[in-house]
């Protein structure tokens, strides 16, 4: 039986996602996850749910030796789509805490958009985490199927304001080696709280996105960019 070509990519991503279940028999294995809704699914400063609410299910597996894997599925909607569709992420990697207290990690991420498989792509990443700050660098040889090589650097942090209230922040920059069209800075700052396994977050996401094209009196055409901001609410049940 031949499998439709458009299903190959999501199946590979799905394989990464269900890896946790297959490996969960390891004695020290820890399987966790979350299920919830977001008012807008923001990905590196742009909405992958067309500005609408989305549901998300995520799983994560941690082995005792430092290997980890996981995945998520979101009911997103790309700008070119007229209806919702599942967007998959699968990842696997290795993380190790050093004697200094810092941790390093490396891994691979696969993004799959079954309804528009040409958007699917893979990334490789390395990261370093301290007690309150972490940083990661991602490399994609074919970002979103655009044929562009990209580097995405991100720095994340957070601290407790009260026993059940945390502030978190995130800053990132997407750099395209082949075109400046998609290069952009983005950031997020927000508050998170949790109680009896329920988690809620509110954040302000900002990104400097392309807004249009203008031509000056000398006939020089420039791409205009503007800061966009979005308030995002999310509620999830951790398990």
């Amino acid at each position: 039986m031949r499998m439709p070509t458009q299903l190959h990519q999501p199946l590979r991503t799905l394989a990464l996602s269900i890896l946790p279940w297959l490996l969960a028999s390891e004695a020290h294995a820890q399987l966790s996850g979350s299920a919830g809704v977001l008012s807008n699914y923001m990905y590196r400063g742009v909405s992958l749910s067309d500005g609408r609410a989305a549901a998300r299910l995520a799983l994560n597996y941690d082995g005792a030796s430092g290997w980890y894997a996981g995945g998520q599925v979101v009911t997103g909607q790309l700008a070119i789509e007229s209806h919702r569709s599942a967007q998959w992420i699968g990842y696997a990697g290795y993380a190790h805490r050093m004697e200094s207290g810092l941790s390093w990690e490396t891994g691979v991420t696969a993004y799959a958009f079954p309804s528009n498989s040409s958007w699917s792509f893979r990334e490789f990443f390395v990261g370093l985490s301290g007690e309150t700050v972490s940083a990661r660098l991602h490399y994609a040889p074919n970002y979103l199927g655009f044929g562009e090589r990209t580097l995405y650097g991100e720095v994340n942090g957070g601290w407790s304001l009260a026993p059940r209230l945390q502030m978190f922040w995130h800053g990132g920059y997407l750099y395209s080696h082949d075109s400046s069209e998609i290069s952009r800075p983005e950031a997020r700052i927000g508050l998170a709280t949790s109680h009896r396994g329920w988690q809620a977050q509110v954040s302000l996401d900002v990104a400097r996105l392309r807004s249009g094209v203008s031509t000056d009196i000398y006939g020089v055409t420039t791409r205009e960019r503007e800061w966009h901001h979005e308030v995002v609410l999310s509620v999830a049940r951790a398990f």
Binding site: H28, S34, G101, Q166, H170
Partner: protein
């Protein structure tokens, strides 16, 4: 003048002088903080679950808050299953990233002993390891006042401070609560944290006295002067005062040690002693691996000096005049009739190896200002000891600083019988 001051201090000391049991915390049966009066008929244990290193997750930006991290639910689920299976009561947990474990405190049913459960847990693949919570209690020890600040003269503190005052060095005092607003400690405490379950942070005698020896303000016109008056203190309350005793346990001490490791302590003062404890042992080893100096008080009642003083690499400190111990190279420092700070804005006189250890923590803060990167083993080898001429001090501080740092401007008068310390 010193005698007048000594007498004045003696009067000020008041009841503090007469209080026994303010010194070295020792091993004893664990008594929960809320029920000091009764000997408990329940035993508590610590069950360690694997704590993964932080990493990428699709549903999280990866906050490093381990108490609320995205993977905590999995560990809670395992802990609940373990508790149910072994008929334990799950009380609380505390992540110890330095050891890659999340530490769950569990209580055994009344009347049951820990050994069979610990044995079973040691074979349970879900559990990294488990141990009993061990107790620490204070013991008596107080002599009449006969000297004011015994380190001031022999350690030539006036001269030493021309070279170093402990500036920009943070000393974690893992002890009972420090009175941070004491006139001699105001501004010296950079952070206060309470790790004793079910209690609020309060100022107590032992911690306040240890803090004064290390870093009481100098030149403020009142009270005493700490060995390193410009050092900053982390007041990590892991012990609690219970009548005339000061108690701690494995869990409270581990939480405080974990905090010190994660928040930039350069020296950890452990003026306490007890039995070998796997959790605390590992935290001490991690601290040493990170270049943090760990100072432990020698327990006179234990042949090996007790934990942590018996741990290789720990700066084990005995009170001046203590008899030598076979196989143990403890430093000697002033530990008898030491005037220091007391709760209630008072000063008093204390005795014991706790305060000897505090002197060495102060000394390490001075050296830390001048040579922060020096390996502990080299530092230990560079300590110059006195023999004969200065029996009250053990250490020739001025000569030590000059030898280790080469920056001491003091006009040292080292004892002719000074010798170098041997490595532990």
């Amino acid at each position: 003048m010193k005698r007048i001051l000594a007498f004045a201090l003696f009067l000020l000391a008041g009841s503090a002088l007469a209080q026994p049991g303010q010194d070295l915390p020792q091993a004893g049966p664990f008594v929960p903080p809320k029920a000091e009066a009764a000997v408990p008929d329940t035993v508590e244990i610590l069950v360690m679950l694997h704590l993964p290193a932080p990493h990428f997750r699709a549903d999280s930006y990866g906050s490093a808050n381990y108490r609320e991290d995205a993977g905590r639910a999995a560990r809670q689920r395992i802990a609940n299953a373990v508790a149910q299976e072994y008929k334990l009561e799950l009380l609380e947990d505390w992540a110890m990233p330095a050891l890659n474990v999340d530490c769950y405190r569990m209580r055994l049913p009344a009347g049951e002993t820990a050994a069979p459960v610990l044995d079973a847990l040691s074979r349970d693949g879900r559990v990294e390891w488990a141990q009993e919570i061990q107790g620490f209690v204070a013991q008596a020890g107080s002599d009449p006042l006969y000297r004011v600040q015994p380190a001031a003269g022999p350690w030539q503190l006036d001269e030493v401070r021309k070279a170093a005052t402990g500036r920009k060095v943070t000393v974690a005092v893992v002890d009972s609560g420090i009175e941070s607003n004491h006139p001699d400690l105001a501004g010296q405490v950079s952070v206060e944290e309470n790790f004793v379950d079910g209690q609020n942070y309060v100022a107590e005698l032992h911690g306040t006295a240890v803090a004064g020896v290390i870093a009481a303000r100098a030149g403020n016109g009142v009270g005493i002067e700490g060995v390193a008056p410009d050092a900053r203190l982390m007041a990590l309350r892991a012990c609690w005062q219970a009548g005339s005793a000061t108690r701690c346990n494995s869990f409270t001490l581990a939480k405080a040690m974990n905090f010190a490791l994660s928040n930039g302590a350069q020296i950890i003062n452990l003026s306490l002693s007890g039995p070998q404890d796997r959790l605390l042992q590992q935290l001490v080893e991690v601290a040493q691996a990170r270049g943090i100096r760990v100072v432990g008080a020698v327990d006179p009642a234990r042949p090996d000096g007790g934990f942590p003083a018996n741990t290789p690499g720990v700066f084990a400190v005995a009170s001046d005049g203590a008899p030598p111990r076979n196989g143990m190279h403890a430093l000697l420092a002033p530990g008898r009739d030491v005037p220091t700070t007391m709760p209630g804005g008072r000063w008093g006189v204390v005795s014991g190896t706790s305060y000897a250890a505090a002197h060495v923590s102060g000394m390490l803060a001075l050296i830390g200002e001048l040579k922060p990167e020096l390996a502990s083993a080299k530092l230990r080898e560079g300590i110059v000891l006195n023999e004969g001429n200065a029996p009250l001090t053990g250490i020739d501080l001025c000569a030590t600083i000059m030898r280790i740092t080469g920056k001491c401007s003091c006009a040292c008068q080292p004892s002719s019988t000074s010798r170098f310390a041997r490595s532990p």
